[in-house]
């Protein structure tokens, strides 16, 4: 009995101490980093706009976005592969990992393509450098096949890990391209130097190639070597356009609103800085 009481006292003391310690620390240390204030403000504004647009979807509002050249080609690309009896190759690039929003956007597009591939009974090959992306992609494609009504056409071995090494991955995908001769190649995600190695090999086998990336340097190579290239933000919009998923489309709308606000900010700031060159409020 005494022991247990003593224990409780000790324990409660411990918690009191801990609480004091934490609160003391919280006050003494910089709980909030003032230099991040502008980021916090724009974060909150952005989040509110996105949430507002999502709520308006729930309220029944319909969003649509303009046509993006290249996205029309997606359907054709799957159809072409089916006609030729050749597979589709889809890869999210070596530069990304699952933590990157670009990869998520790419997997969204994958899910639409998987559905179409299942419908036309067209083989979909997905080599990747990242085992986590592999694990998620297997689920995404499996679901796509199930949605299309052909779960039995799904082959998990077609979504596989090749190598984490950048050029091991590039060599492997090049090999797969030249051997399986896919009719359509999708290069959507974050790419680094391997971009052109894949795109040129894809071109040499005569595949129709649809690329899209958030790596600004690699965009130049895709533009030169591929049939269609989704530039930066277009990749994010594409996932909404293809799936006609209202929540994604509403986000694209929110992005447009933010872009307008930012443009307005720039115009005001430039005029301000021209009139008063010593001003710095716009600098960050």
């Amino acid at each position: 009995m005494t022991i247990s009481i003593a224990f409780v006292i000790v324990k409660s003391n411990f918690f009191v101490e801990l609480a004091c310690c934490i609160s003391f620390n919280l006050i003494m240390q910089n709980l909030f980093d003032m230099t991040t204030l502008p980021t916090l403000i724009i974060s909150i504004v952005s989040i509110l706009i996105v949430i507002y647009s999502i709520i308006s979807v729930k309220a029944g509002k319909k969003f649509s976005i303009r046509e993006i050249p290249g996205l029309k080609a997606v359907e054709d690309a799957v159809g072409r592969a089916t006609e030729m009896g050749a597979p589709i190759l889809y890869t999210p690039g070596w530069g990304g990992d699952i933590q990157r929003p670009t990869t998520i956007a790419s997997l969204n597009i994958l899910s639409t393509i998987a559905e179409k591939a299942a419908l036309y009974d067209c083989r979909l090959v997905f080599p990747t450098h990242d085992p986590v992306i592999m694990a998620v992609a297997q689920e995404v494609v499996k679901e796509g096949y199930a949605k299309a009504g052909y779960p039995d056409r799904f082959n998990p071995d077609d979504i596989f890990y090749v190598s984490s090494s950048q050029f091991g991955y590039a060599a492997a995908v090049d090999g797969i391209l030249s051997r399986t001769k896919p009719a359509s190649v999708f290069l959507l995600g974050t790419f680094e130097a391997e971009s052109l190695i894949l795109a040129e090999t894809g071109n040499s086998i005569g595949a129709i190639q649809i690329a899209g990336t958030d790596s600004t340097i690699q965009l130049a190579f895709f533009i030169v070597a591929c049939d269609y290239t989704l530039i930066g933000e277009e990749l994010f919009a594409a996932s909404g356009y293809l799936s006609q998923n209202q929540s994604i489309l509403s986000s694209v709308k929110a992005q447009d609103i933010l872009k307008l606000l930012l443009a307005l900010f720039v115009i005001v700031a430039v005029i301000w800085a021209t009139i008063d060159p010593s001003s710095t409020w716009w600098r960050y």
């Binding site: 950048q166 050029f167 130097a193 040499s204 005569g206 340097i217």
Partner: protein, 272 residues
């Protein structure tokens, strides 16, 4: 002619032209860029015995492009009797860094442990960069060869960044950014970078803001530095080949367009 054959001709042309251009030794004199000159002048201005930290933050595959930079920088430092602490924040750079330092040290009769040391590799690079601001011994208790760091003579006068004049990150990616963002503001560490040509534009914002002292970019940067240093090396050696390759591309693009416009005319769509 079918597509495949055209590819073969283009590939063979590139192979032959670059190989031939590599065998000729012409010195291509060029004005050093502002950045390279700044880097050179800075190293040149340091008094003997100053300690530099050289971090080999790159993979083996980009060696051809970044090694000429590290070679000439280390040569310059050793010639001016500066001391070097080497390390790597990229696993693949470790052995490369150790071998490079040893090789050049032998050229200048420098002694391991006295004139230079190689600390080895640390995986959690951000933690390592921050940790060395407090104490290098804590981050690297032993050097690459297993000696206790605090028994190495060169380390006697070194505790943290306060005792290091400049960190030079030789990188093919964004490791130098982490040096800039973590060692820069908190510990006031000066940082210089040796970069691949492809990365130069990514570092422009840091240069213009002054967070990065200077950069040496690509084979061309190395060649310019070698010219300032007065001894042509791998950078200069590669310049004729680099020039030939660029001109070859220009010719290819022009021919491609000539063919395109001729075909267009023939198909009756008119000229320009």
């Amino acid at each position: 002619m079918d597509r495949q054959k055209i590819r073969w001709i283009i590939f063979t042309g590139l192979f032959v032209i670059v190989a031939l251009a590599y065998t000729v030794e012409i010195k291509m004199v060029s004005q050093p860029s502002f950045e390279v000159k700044k880097s050179f002048d800075y190293i040149e201005s340091l008094p003997e015995g100053t300690i530099l930290m050289v971090s080999f933050d790159h993979e083996a595959s980009s060696l051809p492009e970044v090694q000429p930079i590290s070679l000439v920088l280390i040569r310059h430092a050793f010639r001016n009797n500066l001391k070097i602490i080497g390390l790597s924040l990229f696993a693949e750079g470790t052995a490369i860094g150790y071998r490079t330092l040893n090789r050049i040290a032998a050229e200048y009769d420098k002694r391991y442990g006295y004139d230079y040391v190689f600390l080895g590799f640390k995986p959690q690079h951000i933690a390592a960069i921050l940790g060395m601001g407090e104490s290098i011994y804590d981050v690297f208790p032993r050097d690459y060869l297993g000696h206790l760091t605090d028994t190495i003579p060169i380390m006697d006068s070194v505790e943290n960044y306060d005792d290091i004049e400049m960190v030079i990150s030789i990188t093919d990616g964004d490791r130098a950014v982490q040096w800039i963002e973590y060692a820069g503001p908190r510990y006031n560490q000066k940082i210089m970078a040796g970069l691949t040509a492809a990365m130069i534009t990514s570092y422009d914002p840091y240069l213009s803001s002054g967070q990065l002292s200077s950069v040496i970019g690509g084979l061309k940067g190395a060649a310019e530095y070698e010219n300032l240093y007065g001894e042509p090396g791998k950078g200069n050696r590669g310049m004729p080949a680099q020039t030939a390759a660029h001109l070859y591309l220009v010719v290819l693009i022009v021919i491609g367009n000539i063919i395109y416009f001729r075909n267009r005319k023939r198909q009756g769509r008119g000229g320009l």
